[in-house]
Symmetry: C2
Subunit: 205 residues, 2 copies
DNA sequence: AAAAAGTCTTAACCTACATCAATGAAACAG
DNA sequence: CTGTTTCATTGATGTAGGTTAAGACTTTTT
């Protein structure tokens, strides 16, 4: 399906063009550097203990990045939908084992690049270097907010913030994974939602 | 005190030379780009609501970065000792209000640079660009670990991890700020330490 | 040297969320 | 279509850490 993959590459080019200007030649270089990788539901880009060999741009579908602790509990670090990135920066760059798992939530498609290809691409398009520096900074800022939110407010406030920031998330992700993202157990989220609903009906009567 | 400031600049140069190679001319450029800024105990590099105009390298003393929430509770995000950096990357780069405070824990000294000077320095020493990209990545990795630690283990495990990673911290920082860093109240840390001590004596008898 | 401000500890009580256990419903595989 | 995981809900009970309040001890300010 040539036209499908063409559309995927266009998403990536559009994404970059929102952050910098590219010549036609540069666009071609980008297209030939990123490869299409399809990942079926519940399968992985990489898992804990493996090296993250690819950095991926989500062209179709969705992913979760999570960490499994020593009590075998999963903790969702991020969700990634279309036009977002997945990967473990530290593992990708240092070529060391990752502590994370990146799993498809549905049959999905990524545009992936490995480290040598990325370095080559940076050399031919220096402006991209800055684009990725900014992406990393943004990433850091988001995580800082998340961390502060986690230590300074309760699960209900975190839930409200999530719904406000990402209103469709409940349609896209099972509830126990939202709970994990919020840092609570599914039982607690279920109870919490019941409480919220009860309060809502009381108010409106 | 010329010799004092000379020693401060040497710390910064040594720091950079661990990550890249520099010519004498580049070292001179670095020295003339960073300015010395002394900050007395309890005073600030910047506060919540202000723009972080300087990125600082701690040449003497120590700092805490914290956030004050809507209930007026302080949450320590980082400590910074000698040879560490302070600042708010997002605020510094985007020139927007910061949500953080950077406060000296004792009379301290920074080598600071503002955004125009940093951009100019990057132009004259492109290798530094990569150094800072790596610093930001490292920063992100550290924060990710911290976040996962916070959601996947209890305060005692976090305390033990901190002591192991930074054994002298209890001599350098008041206990209520360590509590804040751990995400608990000073009373809880005090109680926790008592429990630990009780267990220790039981074991050794 | 006195006053004020900051720090640490202890104790009694409270609450948000975890844990354990059971159930029904939905999704999925053979 | 049917047995089997997976998912959501609910209830009973447990606990880490929060809240409030008080006292002692130390450091800083005047």
């Amino acid at each position: 399906m040539k036209s499908d993959s063409e559309a995927s590459y266009l998403k990536l080019i559009d994404y970059f063009e929102k952050k910098t200007t590219l010549t036609e030649g540069e666009k071609t270089a980008i297209k030939s550097s990123y490869k299409i990788k399809k990942i079926k539901k519940k399968e992985y880009l990489f898992q804990q203990g493996e090296i993250c060999k690819y950095e991926g741009f989500v062209s179709q579908g969705s992913f979760r990045t999570y960490y499994t602790d020593d009590k075998d509990l999963e903790h969702v670090l991020y969700f990634a939908f279309e036009n977002w990135w997945v990967g473990d920066i530290a593992s990708f760059n240092e070529e060391e084992a990752s502590g994370q798992n990146v799993q498809a939530l549905q049959d999905s498609e990524l545009l992936v690049i490995d480290k040598p290809a990325k370095e080559k691409l940076f050399k031919s398009i220096p402006a991209l270097e800055k684009v990725f520096r900014v992406i990393t900074q943004k990433h850091l800022t988001v995580l800082q907010k998340r961390f502060l939110m986690t230590v300074s407010s309760n699960a209900e406030a975190r839930f409200n913030e999530l719904i406000q920031r990402c209103p469709t998330i409940e349609q896209m992700v099972p509830q126990h994974q939202i709970a994990s993202y919020l840092g609570i157990l599914p039982e607690s989220l279920s109870r919490m939602k019941k409480q919220i609903a009860k309060r809502e009906t009381h108010k409106s009567n």
